[in-house]
Symmetry: C2
Subunit: 344 residues, 2 copies
Amino acid sequence: MDRTEISALGEFGLIRRLTDKIVLQQPSTRKGVGDDCAVMQYDRDECVLMTSDMLLEGIHFNLEYVPLKHLGYKAAIVNFSDIYAMNGTPTQLTVSLGVSKRFSVEDLEELYSGIRQACERYGVDLVGGDTCSSMTGLTIAITCLGTAKADEIVYRNGAKQNDLICVTGNLGTAYMGLQLLERERLVMQGNDKATPDFEGKEYLLERQLKPEARRDIIQKLREAGIKPTAMMDISDGLSSELLHICKQSGVGCAVYEDKLPIDYQAVVLAEEMNLNIVTCALNGGEDYELLFTCSLSDYEKLVPIDDIYLIGHITKPEAGTVLIGRQGEEIPLKAQGFNAFSEA
Amino acid sequence: MDRTEISALGEFGLIRRLTDKIVLQQPSTRKGVGDDCAVMQYDRDECVLMTSDMLLEGIHFNLEYVPLKHLGYKAAIVNFSDIYAMNGTPTQLTVSLGVSKRFSVEDLEELYSGIRQACERYGVDLVGGDTCSSMTGLTIAITCLGTAKADEIVYRNGAKQNDLICVTGNLGTAYMGLQLLERERLVMQGNDKATPDFEGKEYLLERQLKPEARRDIIQKLREAGIKPTAMMDISDGLSSELLHICKQSGVGCAVYEDKLPIDYQAVVLAEEMNLNIVTCALNGGEDYELLFTCSLSDYEKLVPIDDIYLIGHITKPEAGTVLIGRQGEEIPLKAQGFNAFSEA
């Protein structure tokens, strides 16, 4: 494959190369890449949502097994997920990159093609950013804007006693995908003839490498006339996110171990690797599913919607934040999720 | 000085510690730090401006001589400057940090105190971000939002033949400040008894370490009823920025060497260091002054405004982009400014 050094293009040449394929889709975008700022104009009744995420090589991703295109896709999705978690619609994105000499122009084109693909699929405009050299490794910082009407926004602090607790999709699957990739990386190390064994486990890889944001759920809830009372996306693990909602809402919760949605492939791999799948489901990060609470009166409207699972209910604060085990035992939830600092 | 390890607080404890002193000032901010997204609501006739910048240790700053508080201040200012360069007003900011174990909680508090000070001075709300560990060094990614009425926004592409070319403040001073810091750093290396000699050169240091954004100029232009035809801030050097404006506007330019505003201390240091001060003024980066063009008919209104300097005029495209030397010779302008990639 060709390798063009970034220095051969220079900063402005590189930016042109990376951004000239961008097609703006959002009516709110008035000016994208190419000036000191991007310019947007929103409808009067729209609030503007803003979220920022940073991904660092060696901490958040390992390029030994993460293709750059998937990394770009995921970096964008992670931000869209935060906007959906407010019940909003993502609209614009800026991408700042720190890039060492190890990376070629073609590498960055791969990364950008993933970002662009995510933007096209979710109808988001890439409107700016910053690209600079780094001493070492790859750093990606993305900020995403979105819109929502003021009375549609769902915060973390609105959960009420007796509300239903729901999650989408399944839990712990992205974490098991990461365990699989790490296992095969270790097998391959120093063994040229080995090939990674992913057979029957493709779904786990997809969940880790190419997650999606749950736009579909947000749309279905809206169609069904359900407005959650509190909502978050699950990036640090269910336990950690539930504790956020309970703390900010001033309530307790009870979730049921046997109600947690867990994927079959994840169960099989957890057995193989001698891991407790419930722990993975509670504390594994990066699922980018939605966790939300809604009024008991929405139950009938909720049931027909695919891929939403009722896992428990909100309690009074004195009841604490607990997991009810299969034998009915109460286990306090702990935020031992993805805490990059305590691991470092 | 106390040193608290970041791991002792964890990610959420750290975020609380860094953000609990934030006071929101902007009427457009509805929700700051603490949910999946920040939430803003702007007036109907306001456009939203958005700019992102990334600063990397070892590339953009050297912590051997840059105090963390100043670094935080500058990281915010750089973004405000981009908003003013569109003739807008900065309103909200998110800060993403990648931090290695070398840094303590107190270090990050220093950095944040600088960011907060810049925000307070310019009336900008810190509304969110992301803080994560890095393998090595410090990475700061800031995104700033601002507002401007649609008909007040100034782009780079509006310069017209015969327009006046103006700059604010002075040029090359921040670059000379950097040269001074680098010189004294080398003197100090391996010499415990040496002290850096900055006497009489404090202004150069200030321009490098603690720049300001030219809000004052934007206000004065507005008061005088002047709307520039094109505008940028000078972050990569005058030559590079002039070429952007001329290219995007489809025009040429003539700027006069003897009209370039140059600070006396910068001249003295350039002599000492055997540097050509005109080259530094044309190509030194990080001045964060404004470069703008305006109609010849605004001349009378422009003259009374302090700290704005007329350096030339816009020509037809065939005339090229030239510097007119002291003997009247024409020298083509080149974008040899701050190109991090060609140096890398």
